[in-house]
Assembly symmetry: C2
């Protein structure tokens, strides 16, 4: 039966076991479930063909970007077609005068910014991984720069989506604001391929800041670091990145990247400004604020290379941690809480790691109240990491927070949906049933 897919899509279909396996795993979910076939789409027409085949054969379809998600979003739960967008990766048009760009869903964010370089503009959303823009919209990605530029909701102005029934919808407009009709664009952003399949995006761009100032500040403890973060947020300084790293994270980075950072809880900061004098003065204020909060040591990156090194360290942290804990499975938590509760939740996470004798590091987008605990366990002890996450999410929800700040619900976090959303969960399920009555689109995820 699956062979008939070839009749429809020819060489775009792959049954190669290594290809299937690569589409049956993400960056963190521990189990591999290869799909029945992978289709490499190059056009909306291909997407429509796959959907009509899937409908006819009652087979689910799972959109696939870079496979860099972490919550099992793209793992089949039954025999399914993985619809890979890596070949549908054209930058369709740059509109520099509108600060917009139209892309196919398979374009990756680093390639996009590379292509934009000559325009003086950039796309700011930076989840660390070199994800596809389609995948980033599907999971509502954000990251280190969200404190200043927002995440995908704020930075996607237009989406083309194909529904289960083959309807092609154009959601949103290429404008900076609209109040026209129901906001379906933001309903589809973050819906993880469960309501429709994204086939085109228009994204917002920003002028590359003329002056960038990068700092690393080290503190005696996490409380002081969190206090400094709050002061920075309250100052209205043009902070573009505000990242917390705990002692163990710094140790792991020092070891893996041969750095000599002070092994203490740290804030990595970046300010974006439009004038040289402004940034000098802003950095003097930041300096004073972090000192008042108890900073032990302040390092200012003077050159672009030094800046690049600092953010490489932050972005490489996941892999540094993996290299430091070979032969393990890795689990990443993703809670976000009201800003004033960050210290409380971070402290709780650290105590829990100690109590449970788990090897874990805390890093996070502390300006947004969002942090990750990265845990390494032996495969046979993986359930301990799951228990840790469950306890942390429950505490986050008690503090008014969320189960997931930026990774999405996927498969792993479904069990928290009822606690977080209450009566709204049933309405989410009704929306799923409305758009996908036969359950063809990435079933078993989110709702």
């Amino acid at each position: 039966m699956i062979a008939t897919l070839k009749d429809l899509l020819g060489e775009k279909v792959s049954f190669d076991p290594s290809v299937l396996e690569a589409h049956g795993k993400d960056t963190s979910y521990p189990e591999i479930h290869p799909p029945a076939a992978v289709v490499f789409a190059v056009s909306v027409e291909d997407v429509l063909k796959v959907l009509s085949w899937c409908q006819k054969h009652h087979t689910p379809v799972i959109p696939f970007g870079a496979g860099s998600s972490l919550e099992g979003h793209i793992i089949p739960q039954s025999p399914a077609i993985s619809l890979d967008f890596s070949l549908m990766n054209n930058i369709l048009e740059v509109y520099p005068q509108d600060f917009l760009v139209a892309v196919e869903p398979g374009v990756r964010r680093e390639e996009l910014n590379q292509a934009l370089r000559d325009t003086g503009l950039f796309f700011p959303v930076d989840p660390g991984a070199n994800a596809t823009l389609g995948g980033m919209a599907a999971t509502n990605a954000s990251g280190t720069t969200t404190v200043r530029y927002g995440g995908m909701h704020q930075n996607v102005v237009e989406l083309e989506v194909v529904l289960a029934n083959g309807d092609i919808l154009h959601l949103g407009r290429s404008v900076r604001k609209t109040s026209s009709g129901y906001n379906l664009k933001d309903l589809f952003i973050g819906s993880g391929g469960t309501l429709g399949i994204i086939t085109r995006l228009v994204l917002r761009l920003y002028p590359i800041p003329a002056f960038v100032h990068t700092m690393r500040v080290f503190f005696p403890g996490l409380t002081e670091a969190a206090e400094a973060a709050y002061r920075i947020m309250a100052s209205a300084l043009p902070v573009a990145r505000l990242e917390l790293l705990d002692e163990l994270s710094i140790k792991v980075i020092n070891r893996d990247l041969k750095r000599t950072y002070l092994e203490k809880p740290a804030l990595f900061l970046e300010f974006h400004s439009s004038t040289g004098t402004a940034i000098e003065e802003e950095s003097a204020i930041a300096n004073k604020l972090v000192r008042v909060a108890g900073a032990l040591d302040i390092n200012v990156a003077k050159h672009e290379q030094e800046r690049a090194d600092q953010w490489e360290a932050r972005h490489h942290f996941y892999w540094a941690f993996v290299h430091s804990n070979p032969g393990c499975l890795y689990y990443t938590t993703d809670t976000a809480v009201p800003i004033s509760r960050v210290t409380e939740l971070v402290t709780y996470a650290q105590q829990l790691l100690t109590e449970m004798r788990l090897e874990g590091s805390i890093v996070g987008h502390v300006g947004d109240g969002n942090f990750h605990t990265l845990i390494a366990t032996l495969p046979e002890e993986y359930s301990l990491a799951e228990i840790f996450s469950e306890l942390l999410v429950n505490r986050s929800l008690e503090l008014g927070g969320t189960a997931t700040g930026e990774h999405g619900i996927g498969l792993v976090k479904r069990k928290f949906m009822e606690a977080e959303h209450g009566a709204a969960l049933d309405w989410m399920r009704q929306i799923k049933a409305l758009f996908d009555p036969e359950g063809l689109l990435n079933p078993g995820k989110i709702v």
Copy 2:
């Protein structure tokens, strides 16, 4: 039959003809249709009582804030209950350390900012009118500061809504970001009371900027003004307001407010910064940019009073225009286009005003590509203004723009929904039918 409402809600119900009339009109829609009764809710319980009564008696209910909307959002289309929130106006809790505030829907934005004054924080969304926060969320309001701080989508983190069936949903969380579940919060923002009734909001707050710099710049023509606006946007300067006013707007302001502004197309600008030196330097750059674009005259407001005067002029413009054209009806267009198309659409609007011999002024949030044409006509010629708006919206849509940047669809713009949304309109209608199968919630609006 309507009298039984009193049994349920007592003194909260009004049949006073002047009260009914005040709830049967908005700021701009020309017809008055009084509701059958007005209920002044003070609690969620009251809302539930009204809904159950409406369900039993098959009578629509229309949430009412300040009546400052412009597109007929709150005008009954058949005998209906107007559910007034002006008494449900408590600021429930300020969370300064989280940059959040919880409010009831009847709180007005000026009162909110007054109450916040001692915290050093403010709520930025500023549509001009002193609207209620519930109404602003329902219509997805934005305004002069949206270019920097975003509109209601970005600044409401949590909504409590009551559905037609009495379900009470809590949408979103009190965090700066979440990727948990489908984004129903943003589906309800801008849904104009057609999907549910907002009974509580949590809003984002920002530190009051330490340094504010306000400029008025006059240009020989609109093209130069639009060019200057583009250069400002491309500069990455911390622009917080970027307003365009045409020659006639300035004349009207001079006449009504006894100002002596140069009667030429102008940009009114504001920059928010965190240091004194920064703002001096930023303003020097802005000065240079507008000169290169052809500025005739640049005025910098040095004192707070001068700043207040400038923005009073901008906000008072609607009433200045009304006073200058007594005995007329007034129509406000609300198109938004990609930034590069603003000059083209403004020029088209001006030519059309001349061709159609209409008295009209253009003002707008040009940094967001959104502008308004305010038209005064004799009552018997009102249809000319409607034709003007239709032609302007059609051109806006051709240019990739939207029928409404910030006022919403309401009643007036429904005819453009199909042209703007295509196949998505039918899905919006299905969502309406899902949440409100009996059509009790503000029927005849948006979809």
